[in-house]
Amino acid sequence: MHWVPCGTYNVNYRQDFAIFRTIPHWISLAIFLIILFTLPFYSSRYLLTLLSTIGITIIAVQGLGVLTGYAGQISIGQAAFVGTGAYISVIVSQKFGFPFLLALVVGGFGSGIIGIMFGLPALRIKGFYLAMSTLAAQVILGWFFLHLRGITGGTEGLHVEYASFAGIVFDTPQKKYWMIMVFTLLTLFFVKNLMRTRVGRALVAIRDNDLAAEVMGIDVSIYKLLAFFISCFFAGIAGGLFAHYISFINPVQFTLRDSILYLGILIVGGMGSTMGAIFGTVFMKFIEEIAFVVSPALTMWFPSFGAQFFAALSLAFYSIIIILFLVFEPRGINHMWVVLKNRYRLYPFSY
């Protein structure tokens, strides 16, 4: 149930469909945007780095959200597609001299097309079987990253030049931050609106029951492949941004563990909502930072554990959080947020 603030009436369809409808909505949006884009002038470098990685992760998770959250096709291979996009965009920009923006888009499309190839099993199978085929995609693509030494550089990876666009070189953390935030906002805008169109409704219908969707006249196979394409396209964009942000890529950055983490973020945030991916990413990064702060102290107290301790500890954290969310709040943080919002709007009445 979605309540609107008291005294707000929809008198035409335009108002009914608007995302930002009331004046306080618009004001808060403006304040948010101003803070978001002026942050580099007065915030610390640490916060910028954190927000930049959050922005990249949000793009990748948003893509996965289209595929898994809206279309209901489980994918355990998102990190491999992020990697595909990263490698393609880096290779076309470094070896063939494509400009940054074009390389990014080429990376996205390349990743999307490879995604369609691995999405083909989705036409016949679903649920767990599809999850296994995307897992195969993860393993096979990961093998290519590692063993096509001539192109990907194998374990040594590839060094990436700074991105440049219209004469601006994105070399400082501040400039990179602006670049990533622009792409993140574009992604959010696109996904939020895509899901309100015919395509989005078709994907939701397929998620709820694909047989029923087919009977209703939705071309299930086309839309499933489209979902794979959109998901892997955003993964590719995220990969290209990541490569130009970190300036260095190697196969270790795109492992099965990352793929599962993307799914975990989606579940923790809440599937089938644009806000969910944001909540989930911020929450999981927060957990990661806590583990980052806690583990040196712990290794100081228990020196016998050593370096593996941190990795094992954060893994344990993640797994416990994912299980707790699935058991106690399977609809994720987004649902808590919606409940909170409705409570506030109806206060002091309970309904």
Binding site: I74, I140, I267, Q308, S319, I322
Partner: protein
């Protein structure tokens, strides 16, 4: 020389495949009654190996007692898994069960790392370590014994599902929960039994593997291989698992021996997945699996 290495590859593939089958049996048992595909079997296996190591290594218990205690702990673990993680998500979409079992596998992995670290812990020899020499080929005794244990388990499980009351109840549960409930069988109990049985097979295979390979965190990866075996053989089929385990094992060891030197290694990891992908495209429900017909 080439022929001999191929033959040895095939033999060792069959033997390793026997272990895959053993691990995969646990996955089939869980799936047959609960319809949950568990990614956590590798983790349970790892826990079995580590508990066995802790009891028989540092705690210096006699081997017989150590094995029995390990299996008891594993059974308890299975019970807890079912009660506290899988039962609450009953009725949620399939993604929930997949993610919970993956998270459990992660959890066991990290607990394993916290207990034994990254290194390899030596294990008391549970199985004879020698080799038989048949003609030109060497066969490791321990691998042979593991294979025999897998075959015995297979026969036991086949008979169990055909004749035992509990086995029949499990098959009934797989068919239809409501019908089984109305026949006076408690479905949740069946779920618990399945998890306990799966954990027991996990514990057995964990100790067997650790006794030959040593207790390492890497053992849990066999859970993934077993999942592939189950998928190709057919999710419900004990026969499929027993047949496909050795076949995947052969494929893997032959790939490692013949193809890997040509492309620079690592292909042994990928080929099972590639075979699985092709299988999913051609025959999605596996060789011996049941095709589900859906209604709206």
């Amino acid at each position: 020389m080439m022929l001999r290495s191929i033959l040895e590859g095939i033999i060792s593939g069959i033997m390793i495949g026997g272990v895959y089958s053993l691990v995969a049996l646990g996955i089939v048992v869980v799936f047959k009654s609960t319809k949950v595909v568990t990614f956590a079997q590798g983790g349970i296996l790892l826990m079995g190996a580590i508990i066995g190591w802790a009891l028989m290594g540092p705690a210096k218990l006699p081997i017989g007692l150590g094995i029995i205690l390990t299996l008891a702990v594993c059974a308890l673990l299975g019970l807890c898994l079912d009660r506290f993680t899988l039962r609450p998500i009953l009725g949620q979409p399939v993604l929930a069960s997949i993610m919970v079992t993956i998270a459990l596998a992660w959890f066991f992995d990290s607990v394993g790392t916290l207990i034994i670290g990254g290194g390899e812990r030596p294990y008391p020899p549970l199985l004879p370590q020698g080799t038989y020499k048949v003609g030109l080929i060497n066969i490791s005794q321990s691998l042979l014994l593991q294979f025999i244990i897998a075959i015995v388990m297979f026969i036991v499980f086949s008979l169990f599902y055909r004749y035992a009351r509990l086995g029949l109840a499990m098959r009934g549960t797989a068919e239809d929960h409501e019908v089984v409930q109305s026949l006076g069988i408690k479905v949740t109990n069946i779920f618990s039994y399945s998890w306990v049985i799966a954990s027991l097979t996990g514990g057995v295979s964990g100790m067997l593997l650790a006794s030959t390979l040593g207790a390492t965190v890497g053992l849990s990866e066999i859970g993934m291989k077993a999942l592939i075996v189950v998928l190709i053989g057919g999710m419900e089929s004990v026969t499929g698992v027993i047949l496909m385990g050795p076949i995947i094992g052969i494929l893997e060891s032959l790939t490692i021996q013949i193809l890997d030197p040509l492309v620079g290694g690592g292909l042994g990891e990928v080929v099972p997945y590639a075979v699985m992908l092709i299988m999913l495209l051609i025959k999605p429900y596996g060789l011996f699996g049941l095709k589900r017909i859906e209604r709206i």
